[in-house]
Amino acid sequence: MPVGEMGAFLLFLMIVFLFGKLWFHFIEAILRRIKKLFTHYKKTSAWHPLSPDKED
């Protein structure tokens, strides 16, 4: 296989990979938005930061 064809094939694979990544994050963002719509009224659990005075 000529080097040019190999390069084109690798480029094609890279484009597929990048598009897959973009697609994944796009769907994740939409699902997060939808989830937020249904759970925004829920009380968030308490969070206690580490007290700086007690930390050595």
């Binding site: 206690h48 580490l50 007290s51 930390e55």
Partner: protein, 161 residues
């Protein structure tokens, strides 16, 4: 020989960092748990594996939840406090008293996690190891002795079967 032993030596534990984190774990635990000093502590984590299928992209994703796990031999109680790898804070504690739980046992497959069912509705699976190197995902702490003590307590005095 010296060179080879250095080359093939596994990762070394930074005990200074580990001790500092053990102290932070104790501070956080005592902040949210009454009489926190009556509990011995280990670091544990939960693993939530979910599969996804977004058309032509599918696979699985894992969510890790860091935990400070305290146990009291006398009251046969395990307290679980959610935290983050840098130990900058923690959530509210959850108490698992042996007299109140539905069942507790050590899993065999796929992981040897410590499983506690507080009721029929849900369960918690606590994974614990003597040391985990990846400090972006887990609390950096070395805990051989504490893990052995916790395992002994769980298997011989807390597990229900």
């Amino acid at each position: 020989m010296g060179l080879f032993s250095k080359l093939f030596k596994g990762p070394e534990i930074d005990m200074e960092k580990s001790n500092a984190n053990a102290k932070k774990m104790r501070t956080l635990f005592n902040q949210v748990v009454e009489d926190g000093d009556k509990y011995r502590l280990i670091f544990g984590y939960t693993e939530d594996v979910g599969r996804f299928n977004y058309g032509f992209v599918h696979g699985s994703k894992t969510k890790i939840g860091n935990l400070i796990v305290g146990w009291n031999e006398v009251s046969q109680t395990i307290v679980v406090v959610p935290t983050v790898p840098d130990l900058s804070g923690c959530g509210d504690p959850a108490y698992y008293r042996r007299t109140e739980i539905l069942k507790a046992y050590r899993n065999k497959y796929p992981t040897d996690a410590f499983i506690i069912y507080p009721d029929k509705k849900g369960y918690i699976g606590i994974n614990a190891y003597d040391w985990l190197e990846d400090e972006k995902l887990y609390v950096y702490v070395s805990q051989d002795d504490e893990l052995a003590a916790f395992t002994d307590f769980f298997m011989n005095r807390f597990a229900t079967k």
